[in-house]
């Protein structure tokens, strides 16, 4: 008797679950497709905000950046990607101050770990979601950010 009951109950529950599956797939059939047709949609393609494409140092309208040349980013970089050249100047009130001369960033050896951005005390550097970085020589990948 019990086996008869399981025969029918499994039949109907199985049928129900099959129909449920078909409902899921037909919904998927009509959803927007996720395929990106890359070279054609270059104008509209937008990467997500947290994508780490390349390191940049934002400058304000007067061309000033927030870098204080502390060298934390250089010290934290596991790959030696960042090289900072500094200079020491004396301000009007007689204090000595380090200033940034050259901020070099090698995109070719960057592992996009974001340690530099996280350690920057002034938020002077950040990652941009750009991704078209292919060039013909490696020397072109070394960029001066300031």
């Amino acid at each position: 008797m019990r086996s008869t009951k399981t025969y029918f109950s499994t039949f109907f529950s199985g049928l129900l679950s099959l129909l449920k599956g078909m409902r899921v797939t037909i919904r998927e059939f009509f959803t927007k497709k996720t395929t990106e047709q890359y070279p054609e949609n270059r104008a509209t393609l937008k990467m997500f905000d947290r994508f780490r494409g390349e390191l940049v140092m934002p400058h304000d309208e007067n061309g000033n950046n927030k870098c204080i040349a502390c060298g934390l980013c250089q010290a934290n970089c596991p790959n030696g990607t960042i090289r900072i050249t500094t200079d020491t100047i004396t301000t009007e009130d007689g204090k000595k101050k380090k200033v940034l001369v050259k901020y070099e960033y090698d995109l070719g050896s960057c592992i996009f770990c974001q340690l530099c951005v996280k350690n920057c005390p002034r938020n002077a550097i950040e990652f941009r979601p750009t991704f078209e970085h292919a060039v013909f020589t490696r020397s072109k990948l070394i960029k001066q950010l300031n």
Binding site: M22, V24, I26, E28, F29, T31, K33, T35
Partner: protein, 358 residues
Amino acid sequence: MFDFGVVTQWIDELLRSFLPGTAATLVELVLIGLCLLVGYAVIALILIYAERKVCAFFQCRIGPNRVGPYGTIQSIADMLKMLTKEIIEINHVDRFLFNLAPFMVIIASVLAFGCLPFAKGLHVIDFNVGIFFLIAVSSIGIVGILLAGWASNNKYSLIGAMRSGAQMISYELSIGLSILTLVVFSGTMQLSEIVEQQAAGWFIFRGHIPAFIAFVIYVIAGTAETNRGPFDLPEADSELTAGYHTEYSGMHFGFFYLAEYLNMFVVAGVATTLFLGGWMPLHIPGWEGFNQVMDYIPSLIWFAGKCAVVIFIIMWFKWTFPRLRIDQLLHLEWKYLLPINLCNLLLMVIVVVFKLHF
């Protein structure tokens, strides 16, 4: 409604006006064969394209869209590729049977294809046991598949062919019984007669519950019969590389491929003819204006549209359900579909005897 009989009549008279009777018949036979083969190839190309698109849409992709507008020429390019590929001669195979097998498969599906009433007056083979003939010729395909597996001298091919044999012979039963249910309802095996009877309303509506159950069972068994997912055990890419056609290459493989898709069309065509009214437009008794409008749509389009719907359902199965194991497959047939089918047949007999249908 346009009757294609006018066209065929005209061709017949034209040929007979300048040819003796026998020669005219011979020419007509060749013409019909040519038309069928061309139709066969074209439908296969359309189906391969449709399968790719439908599959892609179910997986949230776009599918082929590079060759031609919306990728429509993709399957033609694939056909050309297939035609130009080498047919590799394999050592240690039974050469005669190995070469015969793809032709057996394709002959079976072309014969079944020829039985379908495509439109009003567009019907190649029509006689009083049409449905019976159709079932008979469509099951010849099993012989081809078994031959292919056996002659290949390859364990994967043989396992695939054996599974296919077990599967097709089991599900043939369900197909036969569900068709029998409808034959009980219509009282005839002649396909043209069956279609004519549905002028008042399609069988799936007129036969209500038993006809609907028979339709569902027919579609399930038909999917299994064409070796498509979720019943694609004979191919089972992950286990058997490609099953019975592992050793085939070039156009011999192409024949299996074509036959697989065309069998799907044949299954859909039979489902259309038996349950959804064939080329008959949708008629609702009492709604004269509506019926008139429906009559303006050509019968060929009605047939193609209904077939497309059934094919879509079969594809929907494939891209939804996971593959069955061989024991589950046989369980489904012998423990569920067969008893349901027999009860359903009895129910249909009761419905017909007591005139409970519309």
